[in-house]
């Protein structure tokens, strides 16, 4: 596939697919609870509705409030161009792109939290404070996972990491990768404000993390936030799928694998949300440290493997 076509496909995936994940998760939860649930494409309807709306701004807010969703979405779209999707290659990928990926997520978070504080609402301050806490605790785990993924390749890039996976090798050789994938799943739940860390459907401000930070946003701004949240889940999903499934190199076959993987992941997240309750906030750091421990297992397995 020619580079421009690959770029167009990649961009189309980033723009079009992420909301579907939210629809599948909601549908899975509804099915598990014995409800019919919203249509699969409901998130797309929500986005379209928000984009058609006007907006209400707090008199307290400044330009930072409006810049928050824009910069966050821009940072996540850029991170999306660094993440390989249908093939092992990403349009913007380079040596060191995993570091840029982590820092772009931080940029998105920084602006979301700043926009939350811009409202002067104590609830949004509370949300920002919790987000800052949990993301700071997640950051080392995320980088440890990325390190474990790229250590065999020797070059800190997604493309190198995925190319270096030998799918024919016995299972033990992939042990570091699988441990990293397990840890990545826990980080995915934490970073994307899913149960058991946060509950995206809760309506009690005092218990929320991500949702409470965006209480004051409306109209197109809120549409950007919704898409950015879905996109973040989609990108983490992309990493996880590449870590556990082989991609043949052909973009169309890869696209099929990616789609199947993302749908399966969405069902998995929906199942976790159906069978678990949200943790008490004081227990969230323990959950995050648990994720770190799983990633450390991956690191130990890596050194064990190269030691033999």
């Amino acid at each position: 596939m020619s580079p421009p076509l690959a770029l167009a496909l990649h961009a189309a995936l980033l723009a079009g697919l992420p909301p579907l994940m939210l629809g599948v998760i909601a549908r899975t939860k509804a099915w598990a609870a014995g409800r019919r649930g919203p249509p699969l494409l409901q998130p797309y309807h929500d986005l379209a509705r928000l984009l058609r709306k006007g907006a209400v701004y707090s008199r307290t807010t400044t330009a930072i409030f409006a810049a928050g969703p824009i910069v966050s979405l821009a940072a996540l779209l850029t991170a999306g161009l660094l993440t390989p999707l249908a093939t092992n290659h990403a349009p913007l990928g380079f040596m060191g792109d995993i570091v840029a990926f982590g820092c772009l997520l931080a940029l998105a978070r920084f602006m979301t939290m700043a926009a939350a504080l811009d409202t002067g609402s104590s609830f949004e301050g509370l949300g920002a404070s919790r987000e800052a806490t949990f993301s700071a605790l997640t950051e080392p785990t995320l980088f440890l996972i990325l390190a474990v993924l790229c250590l065999p390749a020797g070059s800190p890039s997604f493309e190198g990491a995925w190319n270096a996976v030998s799918w024919a090798a016995p299972g033990l050789a992939r042990a570091p990768l699988l441990a990293a994938a397990a840890a990545l799943f826990l980080v995915l739940l934490a970073e994307n404000s899913r149960i058991p860390v946060d509950d995206p459907t809760t309506h009690l401000e005092l218990t929320m993390i991500h949702e409470v930070m965006v209480l004051d946003h409306s109209g197109p701004d809120f549409a950007f936030i919704l898409h950015a949240a879905a996109l973040k889940l989609f990108l983490f999903g992309g990493l996880l799928i590449h870590a556990v499934l082989p991609f043949p190199g052909d973009p169309w076959a890869g696209l099929a694998i990616l789609l199947a993987g993302q749908l399966a992941l969405a069902v998995l997240v929906g199942t976790v949300e159906s069978v678990m309750a949200r943790l008490r906030l004081v227990q969230v750091p323990q959950f995050l440290i648990g994720g770190f421990a799983v990633a450390v297992v991956g690191l130990v397995a890596h050194f064990y493997r190269i030691g033999r």
Partner: protein, 663 residues
């Protein structure tokens, strides 16, 4: 080009003397001093950049009329790079000072602040061009004393005097180790000249190890390695803001320079030096940012971030040493390049942040975070530039902090892959430490920026907040433009660093992968900006024909919210700090609201410093007890002291005679 640096130093000294001569007229004195500092900075920065790009090395011997040796100065890429940092930051600080100092007119004499500022810059120039141990220590002491007087500028305040003396004592304790360092090296080489030191010190590993540890303590005190940093959070807030910027931006980096210069003497490093530096960097970085989060004063918060950033620099040097000791030129290059570029970057964004803090202090007469709020609308330029500085110090893409942290990150990750497992582990520890530092720094600067500039003022401000004087605004805008420039064009910045890195690591080290990465960082920045611009356009088009209204912040149904109910800096930080409570030394006193109709409630928090309260103070107290016993010797009688002298002379005589007999 070297001549420009010397000319700049001469201009600085001359303008310092002139400023002292015209001390009676505060305005004239400020004008003379600022003109001198600006002229010197412009000349010096151009000279240093030119020398770096041309790869110039110069050396100049002059006869010194003292018996200890000769006056030997010179530059190599390492010196030139630090000269560039010194001149850039001091120029920005001088512009800011020209607007900031007049607020003290009529209350204090400005002459000390002006003259010692220029003297401090001149002393730093001398530190990095000195090619002789004695000369370096002399320059080092001038630097310490000039900065002591700058810290003590508002000496009528007791807390300022206390901070200044703490600083003076810490620098004098630190320099003792430098005396021992150069005495050891000098005795082995028979000279204090750097060229000779370099030839001999590398020969014995015992001497090299001792010298490394001495340099770590001696230079580390100035740099602010944990737990030697305790002077720093007192001294930075006490000084006027442009001096805080200069001290935090470049003066503490003289410690880094000293350490790197010593490493150059010591030849190929053993890998454990790298491990030591990674450990120091991780501890300084993590504890520095945690302490910063706990602070209630904006300038103290920034001071602790200096400890954090020195930690990042130490991590970079550590990774570089690990790579160098195992012949991994790419790892060494990335580590050293990241560390050096972070020296420049931290100089820029910390200057910017201290300038912003100074403007806030200037406009509101307070730096207490929990009294501030809503300044973005009242001081848009200060707010926007502070935001740029805050994003830069967090290592976010688009800005310069990201570039240097990216280099260290990539170096550490590659070290984790290519070093033998025992040494790969410390390299990966550096990755984890950097990640945790980054996450906590984001928390800290969202707090600092959000609480000061966003929301509503938490207390009625004592003075109507307004933008600062034009010179201060110009300085802040220039600083933020430099931060953006390096963030957008990292390849250019790394070209300035590369010659010094080649000196530290293996010459001709492989940097091709790095070059591709750096240009990719530019593309990443362009993509972010382009997509943000596109989304802004989309939003404007969508909202053009729709109703956009203004209302009160959604209070979740509560009818009478007040600005006092906003999240404060303390409440924001308390959640973040909870998991780290064991390493934060804080005392709280709370009287929570009681009953169904509560009346008064109180909450007080005192945040100390773990290193000071738990390690250094107890150690000093024990030492004081021990030394107190020696007071028996001091009876205050002249006869007794004569007896001591007599006994000493006899003892010396006996020692000499015994020595002659032995021969």
């Amino acid at each position: 080009m070297f001549d420009l640096a010397l000319a700049a130093a001469a201009i600085l000294c001359l303008s310092a003397v002139l400023a002292a001569i015209v001390a009676r007229s505060d305005r004239l004195c400020l004008r003379v001093g600022t003109a001198g500092a600006l002229l010197a900075s412009a000349l010096g920065a151009v000279g240093a950049a030119g020398a770096l790009l041309a790869g110039e090395e110069r050396s100049l011997h002059l006869q010194w009329p003292l018996p200890v040796g000769e006056l030997h100065v010179g530059t190599d890429p390492l010196s030139s790079f630090f000269l560039l940092c010194i001149f850039t930051v001091s120029g920005l600080a001088a512009i800011y000072g020209a607007g900031y100092l007049p607020s003290h007119l009529g209350t204090r004499r400005l002459a000390p602040a002006v003259a010692f500022f220029n003297l401090l810059v001149a002393a730093m120039v001398l530190v990095v061009v000195a090619r002789d141990g004695i000369l370096l220590i002399v320059a080092w002491e001038i630097m310490s004393i000039a900065s002591f007087f700058l810290v003590a500028f508002e000496h009528d305040r007791a807390d300022v005097r206390r901070a200044a003396f703490t600083y003076l004592i810490a620098s004098q304790l630190g320099v003792v180790f430098l005396f021992i360092l150069f005495a050891l090296l000098g005795r082995a080489a028979g000279s204090y000249d750097f060229d000779l030191l370099r030839a001999t010190a590398a020969s014995t590993s015992g001497l090299a190890n001792a010298a490394f540890l001495l340099a770590l303590v001696g230079f580390g005190t100035k740099a602010g390695f944990w737990p030697l940093h305790v002077w720093l959070p007192d001294a930075h807030p006490a000084a006027p803001s442009h001096v805080s910027a200069l001290m935090s931006g470049v003066m503490i980096k003289m410690g880094i320079y000293g350490l790197l210069r010593t490493l150059l003497f010591l030849g190929p490093p053993p890998a454990w030096w790298g491990v030591v530096l990674v450990a120091i960097g991780a501890v300084s970085g993590i504890l520095g940012v945690l302490q910063a989060l706990a602070q209630h004063d904006l300038k103290r918060l920034l001071a602790y971030h200096s400890v954090e950033n020195i930690g990042i620099i130490a991590l970079g040097i550590g990774v570089g040493l690990l790579g160098q000791s195992h012949a991994q030129p790419a790892v060494a290059f990335l580590g050293f390049a990241g560390a050096l570029l972070h020296v420049l970057n931290h100089g820029l964004f910390k200057t910017l942040l201290f300038q912003g803090a100074g403007s806030v202090l200037h406009a509101t007469r307070t730096a207490d975070l929990d009294s501030l709020g809503g300044l973005q609308r009242r001081m848009p330029t200060t707010g926007l530039t502070f935001l740029i500085g805050a994003a830069a110090i967090c290592g976010l893409p688009l800005l310069n902090g990201f570039v240097s942290e990216w280099l260290v990150f990539v170096g550490a990750l590659r070290g984790g892959a290519s070093l033998p497992p025992a040494w790969a582990l410390p390299s990966l520890v550096a990755v984890l430490a950097l990640a945790l530092i980054g996450g906590l720094a984001v928390a800290c600067f969202v707090k600092a920026y959000g609480v000061v500039f966003l929301g509503e003022p938490r207390t009625p401000l004592p003075a109507p907040a307004h933008e600062p004087a034009r010179a201060m605004r110009v300085a802040m805008i220039l600083s933020s433009l430099l931060c953006v420039a390096i963030g957008l064009w990292p390849a250019g910045a790394v070209r300035l660093v590369a010659p010094a890195v080649a000196l530290l690591g293996t010459p001709g080290s492989d940097a091709s992968g790095t070059a591709a990465g750096l240009s990719a960082i530019t593309s990443v920045a362009v993509v972010i900006l382009a997509s943000a611009a596109g989304l802004t356009l989309v939003r404007a088009l969508l909202l053009r024909s729709r109703a956009v209204t203004r209302a009160a912040t959604w209070g979740c149904g509560y009818a009478a919210p007040t600005p006092r109910m906003q999240y404060t800096a303390a409440s924001f930080a308390s959640t973040v700090l909870e998991p780290f409570a064991p390493v934060i030394y804080s005392k709280t006193h709370a009287e929570p609201p009681r009953g169904h109709f509560p009346t008064a409630a109180r909450y007080e928090e005192y945040v100390g410093d773990m290193a000071g309260e738990r390690i250094l103070l107890p150690a000093y107290r024990r030492l004081l007890d021990l030394l107190g016993r020696a007071r028996v010797l001091q009876q205050g009688r002249i006869q007794l002291y004569l007896a001591y002298i007599f006994i000493t002379l006899i003892a010396l005589l006996v020692w000499q005679l015994a020595g002659m007999r032995g021969r």
